[in-house]
Symmetry: D2
Amino acid sequence: MIIVLKSDATAEQIEHIEKNIREWGLRPHVSKGAERSVIGVIGEESLLANKPFDLFPGVESVMRIQKPYKLVSREFQSKPTKIKIPWGKPGVDPVEIGGKRVVVVAGPCSVEKPEIMLETARYVVAAGGRMIRAGAFKPRTSPYAFQGLGVEGLKILAQVREETGIPFITEVMDTRDVEMVAEVTDVLQIGARNMQNYSLLKAVGRTKTPVLLKRGIAGTIEELLMSAEYIMSQGNEKVILCERGIRTYERATRNTLDLNAVPVLHKLTHLPIAVDPSHGTGAADLVLPMALAGIACGGDMLLVETHPTPQKAVSDGAQTIDEAQFKAMMEGVRGIAAVLGRAV
Amino acid sequence: MIIVLKSDATAEQIEHIEKNIREWGLRPHVSKGAERSVIGVIGEESLLANKPFDLFPGVESVMRIQKPYKLVSREFQSKPTKIKIPWGKPGVDPVEIGGKRVVVVAGPCSVEKPEIMLETARYVVAAGGRMIRAGAFKPRTSPYAFQGLGVEGLKILAQVREETGIPFITEVMDTRDVEMVAEVTDVLQIGARNMQNYSLLKAVGRTKTPVLLKRGIAGTIEELLMSAEYIMSQGNEKVILCERGIRTYERATRNTLDLNAVPVLHKLTHLPIAVDPSHGTGAADLVLPMALAGIACGGDMLLVETHPTPQKAVSDGAQTIDEAQFKAMMEGVRGIAAVLGRAV
Amino acid sequence: MIIVLKSDATAEQIEHIEKNIREWGLRPHVSKGAERSVIGVIGEESLLANKPFDLFPGVESVMRIQKPYKLVSREFQSKPTKIKIPWGKPGVDPVEIGGKRVVVVAGPCSVEKPEIMLETARYVVAAGGRMIRAGAFKPRTSPYAFQGLGVEGLKILAQVREETGIPFITEVMDTRDVEMVAEVTDVLQIGARNMQNYSLLKAVGRTKTPVLLKRGIAGTIEELLMSAEYIMSQGNEKVILCERGIRTYERATRNTLDLNAVPVLHKLTHLPIAVDPSHGTGAADLVLPMALAGIACGGDMLLVETHPTPQKAVSDGAQTIDEAQFKAMMEGVRGIAAVLGRAV
Amino acid sequence: MIIVLKSDATAEQIEHIEKNIREWGLRPHVSKGAERSVIGVIGEESLLANKPFDLFPGVESVMRIQKPYKLVSREFQSKPTKIKIPWGKPGVDPVEIGGKRVVVVAGPCSVEKPEIMLETARYVVAAGGRMIRAGAFKPRTSPYAFQGLGVEGLKILAQVREETGIPFITEVMDTRDVEMVAEVTDVLQIGARNMQNYSLLKAVGRTKTPVLLKRGIAGTIEELLMSAEYIMSQGNEKVILCERGIRTYERATRNTLDLNAVPVLHKLTHLPIAVDPSHGTGAADLVLPMALAGIACGGDMLLVETHPTPQKAVSDGAQTIDEAQFKAMMEGVRGIAAVLGRAV
């Protein structure tokens, strides 16, 4: 930590700060500059996280120099984390997230009737997709909107996996449901609105099920990593981070897909990175170009909303692509992946 | 709902859309313009909330004209909601939020030791404050930071109320804790990070305890109202909305206190409006001017962090004011309230 | 400047950086920490502004500790700057901006016909306003929208001043017009869109006319100060800074009035601070509460759009208040100013 | 335009609005809904752009349905605009922007010494780049920072073109310089800070030189199009739009590159779209992945900062790539372009 002093800080003020630093078991180190001095604090920075040095007389500002996260960092683990999800039927390789192959996960926004889920799962697999996604518990802005099929939805997803073998991702929203959902799903999703629901993060961190953690609409990259740290600090090391669009002043799209986050995250963390161009744009005709861009900049996984007839989807139809669009997207993804030395 | 058609929409496309609208039990109403036509949809707009008209051939965009919330709206109830909180000892008037008097709520960020809590409560009351605030369960960005005293903290708050009579506000973060916290606290706080934790909103909506709902750092005014609607839709009508700063590109302050929201909310809703200049600025020396501004633009309540010695507060010290600063603030608040025909 | 090194920076890398720092005439100062080391750079930080230390092997990040501005800073001049504008007729005290009295400036968005300008000027003065504002050159988003009366508008403003004595503020948008506009106006306005039009800033900096510098819709407080520094660096010390709303994700209001900026700026600079609640909200019925808030948090000046019949204003009618609303606002402003020991 | 009425709007209020609409030469069209009524206004919407219907009694809100731009729109011209820039020496095909080939433009932030410019131009051309970029007039946040070589810089650029044939792009910042710069450069750049400097837009619109218009850091896609409309409305149809990162709350990168804007702009306009991953990220090691993503989502052109030794660049070194990085980027760009059926 660096404490920047005011240009008119007195010797007494500086001594007072030094004394306090020592009381907290750390070592101060004053550097006198031409215009102002600074105090470097040597030792475990986290000890100071709650100390309000800003309030001390003579202090102008305080700068943190250590990263606040550990387990998620590249410095802690340089090798990329690979997460294996077993296929639901014998004879098929497990899905590996964070490896050489780009993993495409697709499905309707909400769990639909079994026939529709099955139809979707079949064309997703046929085109090269390796997991299905659909919400059984739905976080909806309005209390009057459809809130998902709940437990019934989980059963449909499990049934589709039994018939086709395809594993699935589904969201959990309530600490009281975590155990139950974790037992049936292959990957637990923490939605954007719950990125800083710390009770929920701790709860999923205590399971052994892989977690897809979506970035909040106003979540910084550092906060996303801190939320992953919450999960890992409880013992669950299988975390996938997902960029799904942030909220900015621009309204031509539902969200602003922040693809910069993909290479930035790859520098900072060993965890695999997913991109969701459906929520990241909010418009079906933008999904294909942004899916390609998401892979081109290094995404390990795509999360896409698809439905046999998007006009009849029970939610989020406007950003849902149909089978033909999904196939076209997969063809492009395959091409881009090859340019980067990867595969689908 | 208004469906704006593309300038080259064909008669067939228009008929197809009209047919669909009728199938959903509503009436379409086409207006042909010079450059493009629009279809007005007459009937209960909420029926269409999930219908992806954007996807229909010939459609350029869709505009909603009805507000998505009801119970919270001025149209539903024109008279301001007043929420009464009984004083914890006999002989003192209840606190009324949303009435003529501006209510000032103050206290440390986290619950501290009983002596400190008592000392704080006493100077808060002496200066004209009418409730105390402090977190027993703390949402912290880092899993390694102090997470609050938990149940022990609730006991301290109850003890302070017993001794001084002052009622309190404290946060609840987990659906599993709602019942327990609601039993002891006077007002349940939903923190900014949980503004769209719908499971939690529903859970507090099923209690009879008043709820202070803080605006999320990227929450729009409409979303804040929708979250209040969640609570009210479960039967709990005692909701206070709190502006506490939003996240913008500006970093000179921790957050950007959006005081525009105060008069805007007063137009849209009958619920009382609180302002939190401590989180809204993140700096102790900005609390006084912004508290005054918060009352000047119509705030009904202030939420302020104070501590006998902010440098020793266990959390958020940098934005915490001491007793002298609190007194000075109260003097200003009293003056401003009088200009507006209110009192403290 | 503090150069934070990577945890695995080698001795060679550190020496290489130290060598470069010395070559630029500065002194490096290495502090070895538990987890990572930092290099403090002692000497004139501005010498390093363009040096890409981020690119050197072993460097993790670079932190600036000196402020990039000088002339505008409180450290350079602790006493508040007061700017005097002479009244246009003998016998009336000059307007003083930044002094004890709060200065209210009002008028229509665009210069209107002489009769309307006169009528406005008269009711503004009668209610306690001390300057008039109106645009002769208008920055409009659309090339097809009314672009202002131009030179004709300036003449009308000068004529109103001649008849009533009231001085005025008007915008200049083009370096080619600066000299001409500066000759006639009392205060030159640099609009939000031109906050970083450095050619224009330099040009107005070379005049002796006071300048009202509006914050850009995405301008940080530091950038606003740097733009003022541009003007002052050319010799013109009469600069007024104006908060007029920033662009955020919120759309319930046209802009988000960032009142936090008022006390923050008072800490950082000696220049007077104005608040524009008309552009800051975009809605006539929000002007009064936000004008009061703008004064309550320490604004020295208000900039308000008013028109005898806003429904007929040639531009910005929706955010323009009429005479009755202006009077009501002035009454509130007078009350708030008194609470703060100021006057109107 | 759709005027949404309050639920309690009276018949008199509605008549009053209808009367006013007719007075402005347009036709009102009232639709009575279950909950509230709306008035559609038929006729040239731009006539109403300045009419403050929001202020009329009984009105709740006003919605615009026509796009405010014309010349730039796909509806005005469906065929993509292709802009040809002649090569500076005989025997080489002109550069075509907006055609089948992706055009890569590269060079240092500021114009450097002739030797460095020549060296850069040579490796840019060798790797497949087709234009050079460098600033002679530099918009710098600080008045004390290097402001560019000015006219001398233009001469160096012209000299490099003479020797190598490579055409160039350079920025113009002042209306007084437009004619002079337009005479020598191949493409005039309008920088992000000047996106809404309407005097400058009009001035470049009156030249015949192609214009690269950069999106402002808080510019919406619609405002970017309106600024291009300014240029086109003056007669200059050769406009290239450039996404270069917007300002958001995220600080892990200098800006947030909004690649969503690329496919959105392709839908709305016939003009070619460029992407600038150097300013869009602010970090050299993010340029390659984001350049690939920029092409993958449909960019027609890349604008990249490169320098033989970025550590010695006079400005923006931290985001500048060297020759080896540039070559690697070009290889990736070539691969991605091929996947999309394009070439470099």
